[in-house]
Amino acid sequence: MKEFPDDELDKLFRKSSEELDSTFDPDDWNALKRKLDEHDGKTPGAFLKKWWPVGLLALLFVAGLTTYVLTSNGDDRKQNLSRISVEKQLSGKTQKADPGKAIGKELENGSPEAALRVNPEKERKLADSPAGTEDINPAKRDLLSVRSSKNVLADGSKNRKILPRRWSKTGGVYLEPDRSIGRKVDGAFYSDNKNSKTGRRTKADSFQKQDLTLEENKLNTLSFSENDKKPKEEISRITPVRLSGSPDLTERAGDLNPDVAKDRLVIRAYLLKSKSFVLGRSEKLPEVEKVEAPVTEEPSLKAKEQVPMPKLAVRFGFSPDLSSVGLKNFTKPGTAVSLLVEYSFLPKLYFQTGLISSSKGYNARPGEYEWPSSWNDQKARPTSVDALCKVIELPLNFRYDVSQSDRSRWFVGAGASSYYMKNEKYIYNYAPHTYNVIWYEHEAATGWYWLSHLNASAGYEYRFSKKLSLLAEPYVRIPIKKVGYGKVNLFSTGVWFSIRYTPVFK
């Protein structure tokens, strides 16, 4: 027994510390391996933790794109509307004034006068009818049609096919001018009845002559609003008369001088008063009201029928790829990107093909992995194999739309895939104190495995514009052939997040 001085005590502990050799515990390494996998983003939780900002950015991008597309569609509608107005004014060629613009505004505001004044020929026909019975109803229809068109244009949601000028072709309403008459070189109209030689001229002719003068003057002043009270008052006194027909106009065509030609798009709004006057004298107004409904519906139906059905679509998708051997150990999600083409050969049924590039990581147990002949020299077998394979996939799938609404649809898909094993990396894990190990890792590329997997999927598609839609589609790849260097039954699953572009072919 002796006293233990500091230096000896220190020496004792220092020596013990240096000579202490703890035996390796594989569980410790497995615990660290899990930590490393988490750190490297090879587990689902770590994957999400690492990549959530990217996912958030992608969502923001899609949301922004959606907003942009929707907004631009609204602008297109407005542009279409103004284009309709301009077209209505026969391309608005007058340069001093911009009647097209003015009239377009009036159309948007629902002014029936503005809508009617595009057809001076029709007005003449109305005036020609002898306080008539036969011509009164069409005139009323014109007015009703214009009222309908006012509504249609006001809500801004219909396309250009619902213009009054087209209605004439679809039933009952005649607003489209006869372009074979009253037309100069460029096909535009002019109106000048001062040379009428029919001898059927009545009081209205003289009034109309005055009107034309007023009208031309107004055009030169570029405004209808300030000075047209007086002519309207004058016209309100007009008695509807029967005007001469086309022969007179044809004769006058040659007399049109450039100044008059410039003003030929003049719209005589005040002539509406004459129509009102005619209608006011009609006794058959209640019967005319019934005509309104079919006139508005028929063009829209036609327009619907004319929408081309998209046959072809292109999809770009991204998916986490969870692969495993034997439906377990889904610990290392890879990634997959796809570029697919879809063709609809039957309603609701699509054929789908393209290319998918994926990175598949999995862990195989010894019984699940076939040892190649080159392993005959090594008796020791790994306890497990970690694999990371880059695969190009060629899918041949059919997609069927189960249910469909205006903007969304549910669908199912099935088919088969061929795998091309582009690159395979294997790491062989051994138990502690395993000796005579030759193979620690191996890299290979074993090529094509034709129709090696069956595919099944179901998904939801949401259309956010005419041509673009977003899809979410969970899928599975079920092995029917063993693939890769170790000939494993590789099962894969994931969820496709895709954007689908549908070009419209006419």
Binding site: F13, S16, S17, E19, L20, F24, D28, L32, D386, I427
Partner: protein, 189 residues
């Protein structure tokens, strides 16, 4: 290439830099015993030591690119393990209670008994110290830190470091003498 970093080690380090799991596993196995011996004397249990060991190796694998390969890897690893243990101490054990060392004017230890003790038993005595004594003793006696460095690392005064070291030694002597007494009683029966 310094001679203490062998070609095999260099190959392993290259593999670890490429995040090759196999290389990481081999490096882990190679330095497991050494790193564990460090961790054990800074912790109170083997489980706690394992936690620090793996945290330390995680740092090594993730910060290997900052390792200056002209220096000894073993020393770098040792420093990382000690720093990880100190981080653990700072994080987990802030409010410890210092043991009062029993008054013992003279402690006598039988050298033959000590010689028969395994290294694990001797290190376990360090583990039985309170964290403050354990850390100061390990840093000063085994890892060669000065009292200034210890004071800075543990955010204590130099005097406190010296005091803790003295008390730690005293405590260890008492534990060793108890082992002697137990052993004497067992033999005398």
């Amino acid at each position: 290439m310094p001679e203490y970093n062998s070609a095999v080690l260099q190959e392993l380090l290259d593999g670890c830099l490429k995040k090759n799991r196999r290389s990481q596993e081999l490096l882990y196995k190679q330095f497991y015993g050494y790193a564990m011996s460090i961790c054990l004397r800074y912790t109170r249990s083997r489980e706690e030591a394992k936690e620090i060991l793996n945290d330390g190796f995680l740092k090594i694998f993730t910060k290997l690119d900052s390792f200056d390969q002209s220096r000894s890897f073993k020393n770098w690893l040792s420093r990382i393990m000690i720093n990880t243990a100190l981080d653990h101490y700072r994080h987990e054990i802030r409010h410890e209670v210092l043991d009062d060392v029993e008054a013992a004017d003279q402690v006598f230890v039988d050298e033959t008994v000590i010689n028969k003790m395994a290294h694990e038993e001797i290190i376990s005595l360090v583990q039985d110290l309170t964290p403050a004594y354990r850390l100061v003793f390990s840093l000063a006696v085994i890892d060669g830190y000065t009292h200034e460095e210890i004071a800075e690392q543990l955010n204590i005064s130099v005097g406190a470091s010296k005091s803790n070291l003295s008390r730690a030694r005293e405590k260890l002597r008492i534990m060793l003498s108890k082992i002697n007494i137990d052993n004497y009683e067992r033999v005398s029966r």
